[in-house]
Symmetry: none
DNA sequence: CAAGAATTATGAACCC
DNA sequence: GGGTTCATAATTCTTG
């Protein structure tokens, strides 16, 4: 595959070449370009994810300064993710268990 | 935020709203509309976040089926987030400690 | 267990006896004594676990004040949990991927 | 916490430790014995921690086969860790928010 | 054995 | 700024 076989280079030179000039698309038997593509796409998406996380944080800060209890608001959001029937069922059981324990 | 949102509702509609959601935008002294806005915005952003997480998962699945070791790829990504000098420092220490332990 | 008649038992013991004889001794059809036993045993074990976690934290504090890099020490401990061959394999791959990316 | 962990070892034990793992107690300018002591103590405590975790897991398995909802039992345990007043307060707020949202 | 849930650990954020 | 709680990431374990 390579036009400049590494067996005529010493290791350091080969390494330099790979890094600086020709990132050998199959260096070490690896599909380097494929790997780079994968990593860069993940990094891009992670950045977007982080931006959204920051936005969410801002909203909770707003909630807090509006006087809401952020922990409880988060709990509400968690409940809304579940099926109402499931919530109902869990709350019934929770009541039952607490009663059994005298809580 | 309107203080009298029901002015334009007929009685039946108002009644339904009261029953199903919240008749009183200040029930229990709570700014219900404000709370709802906060929660819905967070939920919207969380959906987007989830979509991105799924995309990332897809990419790792692709990496795996291309023969890459996903754990190691993640490690590479983690390393790329750090300053090169910091990485260097950690690796030097790691070597030192392992040597001290005969590993 | 005890051969002593119920009137010399404390409440817990009486309760236990009640459960063994009658699987449905309490409100809501719940085996309250069984539940209580489960919860109390878990809580006891969790306390012990917490104590151990605190001890570990103390040791890392000691390591830090002795000049060790705690993050790297933890990494060493993680490595020691793995098979040497597995560690070797991962490090080889990591090198390979980093080289492919010019890191 | 002892600053001199070898105080409690006899000479033979200290000597054995040095021999098996690292012959040079100061390899690389590192207090190798100190490091080894730290790591081995942590590993010992982590083993105990794991044993307790397994015990807890067993109890939850028992709870499950006795017909309890393990998730709800865990929730009860979480509630019991909090101050009753705090639980009460949170539940009041939760009710309030849910009502405001018509949940 | 792969997918999903649950636990654990690390890193970030908040309060004191 | 240090310590503690909280969020995210990773590993582990269970289940289909």
């Amino acid at each position: 595959m390579s036009d400049a076989p590494f067996d005529t280079m010493d290791e350091a030179a080969a390494s330099r070449a790979r890094q600086e000039a020709d990132p050998d698309p199959e260096a070490g038997g690896i599909a380097a370009d494929r790997l780079r593509s994968i990593i860069e796409r993940v990094e891009r998406l992670e950045e977007e994810r982080k931006a959204l996380a920051d936005d969410i944080k801002d909203i909770f800060a707003e909630a807090k300064s509006a006087g809401f209890d952020v922990g409880v608001v988060k709990q509400v959001i968690r409940l809304r993710k579940k099926e109402p029937a499931e919530v109902e069922e869990m709350e019934t059981l929770l009541d039952l268990y607490r009663r059994a324990l005298g809580m």
